[in-house]
């Protein structure tokens, strides 16, 4: 009995057992609470294990010309991606063989991927571009082998495809983002594409769309097991917006053909809207050269070309505007009431600005009134104008400086002296010197018209881009205002920037334009530009010759047509071509006829032939 009792004594031990069980349970619950609720690091580990965030590239917006013609579209290409962490048992040799690269190339590419100075966002856990831009054909060959290499997959991207080999400067190109661009905007990752020039660059935001993400589930062996929650968390890519540009691709093509073999540029603007109809920079290149894997090679070649095909002349080349600047003078001087349409000045084969120094002129009758001075492009006329302004109206202005400033303000209101703010990268502003600049050079009070006489005929310190002179033609066509020239005509589902829909009025009264137009009309019909006369289209123009210290002068012509309802304003520059009439006038007149009539009249086809065939520089 005692033994039985002693056995029963252990009954209280059951409580110890229960307490022990509870203690362990509490320990477990605390540990689980820590693991599951407090420590959040496991969540990320699980996500990086299981989720493969695959970027889906949106298709870039298409580009149409003003007539609805598709000029830039997309083509699919394929990038081979690697995830370093998942490259188990990687058979490098056979991988190289499949891709057709050498072992050394493979090592180089891997080293590039891992080099954080080239690839700041490198991580072993995220997909890295190993080889980019395989064509559909190349991809087809690879596809069946790629599954054998763990950690690799193929990502589709889109590249540009160009309908015509023209308009490279206007449209621009897309290229892989540089390291700086990645650092600037986190939207871009290594291997992404971005507009690098032309409207591809300006309208990058509209064209690129939004990248999407597909969340895929990946098992322990790296195999894709499906989409996370049936794709409910995926972000669909947003396609880029299609844009329509003001370019007339036929006119652009024609312009490039006319300029073939010549250095220079053509800018054509629709005066009523400011839309750029053609933007030719010669020599040009085929935009498809800068697409895909051959881009960098071709780019280097173009860069090394001594004629600088990559140089965007219409926007960036700054020339003295030469005689085309007389139009500006005619307007500014009238506004300042230095002259009126019937004011005449004599010309003795030039203008003696000191007793012995003469600024020459060509032969024409004398004296000339204002329209005739434009018709015959008389140099002396404008020298007198400048002298009257700066030297003979001190009572009105008080000083040379203030007279000059008044004049300069008018010039600048016509779009000179600073950037027009076109929707285009790399635009240059030209130069209209300030009075301060002359004060600095000559000393205050030590300069007068004779000192700076060459600016009266658009030489000397005056610089303007072809775009600015084309804009001048548009201002004159509009009799006093212009729209900032722009390439974009419309964006799908969006309106273009308000600044391209705002009229900029010049400080010149519209009434002063009539006489200038008349002079320009006469220049075409029976003056310096008569070679360009088109019987069916009366139009206005002004020749110019930009002095070139490095060689033969540049031939310039600006015009707008038709005279009474201007549809096109144009500036043509042909470098090293001599007098304006010889090359620039025919090219501009052919452009005008082509644009307005669609074809060249038979009696002018000899001219077209001559222009197309002319080679003014050695290739």
């Amino acid at each position: 009995m005692a033994r039985y009792a002693s056995k029963q004594d252990y009954k209280q031990r059951s409580q110890g057992v229960i307490v022990f069980v509870l203690l362990i349970a509490v320990l477990f619950v605390v540990r689980l609470f820590y693991l599951q609720v407090i420590d959040s690091s496991f969540k990320d580990s699980a996500d990086s294990n299981a989720f493969l965030h695959k970027t889906i590239y949106p298709s870039r917006g298409l580009i149409y010309d003003r007539n609805g013609k598709l000029i830039v579209s997309n083509q699919p290409v394929y990038d081979i991606m690697l995830i370093m962490r998942e490259m188990y048992d990687f058979d490098t040799i056979s991988f190289c063989k499949t891709l057709g690269i050498t072992r050394a190339e493979f090592d180089q590419r891997i080293a590039d991927i891992k080099d954080r100075s080239k690839n700041p966002s490198y991580s072993r856990y995220t997909p890295q571009v190993f080889m980019s831009q395989l064509s559909g054909e190349e991809y087809g060959r690879l596809q069946e082998h790629l599954y054998r290499y763990s950690g690799t997959f193929v990502q589709q991207r889109v590249l540009r495809e160009y309908a015509v080999p023209h308009g490279a400067h206007a449209i621009g190109s897309i290229g892989e983002v540089s390291r700086e661009q990645i650092e600037e905007d986190s939207y871009y990752k290594r291997g992404d594409y971005k507009g690098q020039s032309g409207i591809e660059k300006t309208y990058e935001q509209q064209l690129r769309g939004q990248k999407g993400t597909e969340i895929l589930l990946r098992d322990v062996h790296g195999r894709i097991k499906g989409r996370y929650r049936g794709g409910e968390r995926d972000i669909a890519p947003v396609a880029g917006k299609n844009v329509t540009v003001g370019l007339d691709m036929d006119l652009q093509t024609y312009g490039e053909e006319l300029m073939a073999g010549k250095l220079g540029s053509i800018v054509a603007i629709e005066p009523k809207t400011g839309e750029i109809l053609a933007l030719v920079s010669s020599p040009s290149y085929d935009p498809s050269l800068l697409v895909g894997r051959k881009r960098s090679d071709n780019y280097a070649k173009l860069l090394a070309d001594p004629h600088k095909p990559l140089f965007d002349r219409p926007m960036m080349a700054q020339y003295p505007p030469g005689s085309t600047f007389k139009l500006v003078q005619a307007l500014a001087m009238q506004q300042e009431e230095i002259i009126n349409p019937s004011t005449s000045f004599p010309c003795y084969q030039g203008y003696y600005y000191t007793r012995s120094r003469k600024l020459g002129c060509h032969s024409h009758y004398s004296p000339l009134d204002l329209p005739s001075s434009i018709q015959h492009s008389c140099n002396a006329y404008y020298c007198y104008c400048l002298r009257n302004l700066l030297d003979n109206h001190l009572s009105k202005y008080g000083s040379v400086d203030s007279a000059y400033d008044a004049w300069r303000n008018h010039v600048c209101s016509l779009g000179f002296g600073s950037k027009l703010e076109v929707d285009f990268p790399n635009e240059k502003g030209g130069q209209i010197p300030t009075s301060e600049m002359y004060d600095r050079i000559y000393g205050k009070g030590y300069w007068r018209s004779s000192t700076i006489i060459s600016i009266s005929i658009g030489q000397g310190e005056i610089l303007a881009t072809p775009l600015q002179t084309a804009n001048l033609a548009a201002v004159i066509a509009n009799k006093g205002y212009y729209y900032t020239p722009h390439i974009l005509k419309a964006v799908e589902g969006d309106s273009i920037d308000i600044k391209y829909r705002t009229k900029h009025y010049s400080s010149i009264d519209p009434k002063y334009f009539d006489v200038v137009q008349e002079g320009m009309a006469r220049a075409v019909s029976m003056g310096t530009a008569r070679i360009g006369r088109i019987d069916s289209i009366p139009f206005c123009g002004k020749t110019g010759t930009a002095q070139n210290p490095h060689g033969k002068d540049h031939s310039i012509f600006i015009a707008f047509a038709p005279q009474d309802d201007p549809q096109i304003a144009i500036a043509v520059y042909v470098e090293n071509a001599g007098f304006g009439a010889t090359w620039a006038v025919p090219i501009a007149s052919l452009m005008i006829e082509k644009y307005l009539k669609g074809s060249i009249s038979p009696n002018r086809q000899y001219l077209e032939q001559r222009m197309l065939e002319a080679k003014l520089y050695e290739e």
């Binding site: 031990r13 693991l35 599951q36 609720v37 496991f42 969540k43 699980a46 294990n49």
Partner: protein
């Protein structure tokens, strides 16, 4: 008819309800764990959840059969069943195919059965029968040795089958033995030995950072030595109240360490603190033995033996770890102790299972939405690591619920065991509770990274017919015995 309705009335329906809830939750968890995006069908017998459904229905049938058998039957067959089981275990070693190095499965056609899962049951019955004999006495050495043999025999055979995990389960009988009067000191000493083992291993092998000199001291030994000295002082206070002896002991120890510190300031290469620690142990032992002779009391000498045992044990830890344990077992222990970090190799399971559980958060990712488990990042996710799936998909709420289920079941079993009038039923009931508790502690502890990886299933959750039937057998046999608890009293 009367008897049957009586049985239904007598059954402990709370436990049966707990059992059913666990089985159902377990099945859904297995469905989630082996859910394949390509085969979402619920009843696909080529998939594990389909097979598990078969095991579950067989288990339910088994449960009914067990309940229908007379309760005296279990007492009667206990020895025979145990003997047969031992034979079967031995036979298994020879006829089992090699499955990942383990020889514990018997293949019958396309089915495989693991006898080790049933050996626990047989041993529990056998122990209950043996210990419920009237003349049994827990204090008698012969009886203790008999019990030890009963437990160690199947354990040894299962170790020979290379199923160390299943063998370790037999340790759980200690809990039952404690209730039955095993000297608490055995458990305390066992616990102390484990702590000892852990401390020595953990601090003797401090992880060395790159560029750092490896520590010259064995910090594990130092910690243990200082701990033992303090413990000895406590024992002296408790059993002898000899303050002079305690003061002498403490001062001697502190003095030796202080001298060592002084020497190290001037000549660091002469000795280590660890050496001083050994000197302390020796001097302390000597002191207590001398004191024992002077005072003519045994207690001093016994406490002195503590120091001797400590030094012996300290030396044997490294030996045991290096020589007795298999390399994979060594590394599992090192991972839990944070001595080794091998997320791609041996630490992979534990790391991925913790990621799975941790990523579940408070509410979980939702049924079938677990990415870690669905995509096979966690190995053995439907068997030993099934708890991960619960953690990932059901979050803290889910894991808390499962722990609550187990704790309720185990405590319920303890309470039921205590209400038994026959010692056979009580001992058997405690064995069942102990086995469930051991599985619960080891399995969940392993999955959440506080116990080394030991491959034993989580009862009613892990996939597998053998374990499902084994646990059903254990539980329902006790339910049958419990239903008859009044009858047995009446018979006596």
């Amino acid at each position: 008819m009367e008897r049957r309705s009586n049985l239904i009335k007598q059954l402990d329906w709370t436990t049966i309800l707990l059992y059913l809830v666990m089985v159902v939750c377990g099945w859904f968890t297995i469905y989630a764990a082996c859910y394949d995006f390509e085969h979402p069908s619920l009843l696909d017998f080529s998939m594990r959840h389909g097979m598990q459904l078969v095991w579950i229905f067989c288990a339910l049938a088994l449960a009914v059969v067990i309940l229908l058998i007379d309760s005296k039957f279990y007492n009667n067959i206990a020895y025979i069943f145990y003997g047969a089981m031992i034979l079967l275990l031995i036979v298994t070693i020879f006829i089992s195919p090699d499955i990942k190095g383990s020889h514990s499965w018997i293949k019958i056609g396309s089915f495989s059965i693991q006898p080790a899962e049933f050996a626990k049951y047989a041993t529990a019955l056998c122990l209950a029968r043996f210990m419920s004999r009237f003349e049994f006495d827990m204090q008698k050495t012969r009886d203790i040795l008999s019990i030890a043999a009963m437990i160690l025999l199947p354990m040894a055979i299962i170790v020979a089958q290379s199923e160390t995990g299943s063998a370790l389960v037999f340790v759980s009988f200690l809990l039952m033995l404690y209730r039955e009067g095993l000297n608490g000191l055995v458990l305390v000493l066992g616990f102390v030995a484990v702590v000892f083992f852990v401390v020595v291993l953990r601090f003797n092998n401090l992880p060395v950072e790159a560029g750092m000199n490896p520590p010259i001291e064995d910090y594990g030994y130092l910690l243990v030595f200082i701990g033992v000295a303090l413990f000895a002082a406590f024992m002296l206070l408790r059993y002898t109240r000899d303050r002079i002896c305690i003061r002498t002991l403490v001062l001697t120890n502190v003095g030796i360490y202080a001298v060592a510190a002084l020497v190290r300031v001037f000549k660091p290469e002469w000795l280590r603190f660890t050496d001083a620690g050994f000197v302390c142990m020796g001097v302390s032992t000597l002191l207590l033995f001398v004191w024992s002779l002077v005072k003519r009391r045994k207690s001093y000498a016994l406490i002195g033996l503590l120091f001797v045992a400590t030094v012996g044990l300290a030396f044997s830890v490294d030996y045991a770890f290096d020589k007795v344990l298999e390399p994979h077992q060594q590394i599992r222990i090192k991972i839990v102790l944070g001595l080794e970090d091998d997320p791609q190799g041996a630490g992979y399971n534990v790391r991925q299972s913790q990621i799975a559980i941790g990523s579940g958060g408070f509410l979980g990712k939702g049924f079938l939405n677990g990415t870690q488990t669905k995509l096979n990042y966690v190995p053995e996710q439907d068997t030993d690591f099934i708890f991960c799936t619960i953690g990932e998909e059901r979050g803290f709420i889910g894991t808390f619920f499962v722990i609550a289920l187990y704790v309720t079941l185990i405590i319920r079993l303890v309470i039921m065991a205590e209400r038994q009038r026959s010692s056979f039923s009580r001992i058997y009931g405690y064995s069942v509770a102990s086995i469930f508790f051991f599985h619960f502690v080891i399995n969940i502890g392993m999955v959440i990274g506080i116990v080394p990886v030991i491959g034993i299933p989580l009862p009613f959750f892990s996939y597998g017919g053998s374990s499902m039937w084994g646990f059903t057998l254990l539980l329902f046999t006790f339910l049958r015995l419990d239903a008859n608890r009044m009858e047995i009293l009446q018979q006596q």
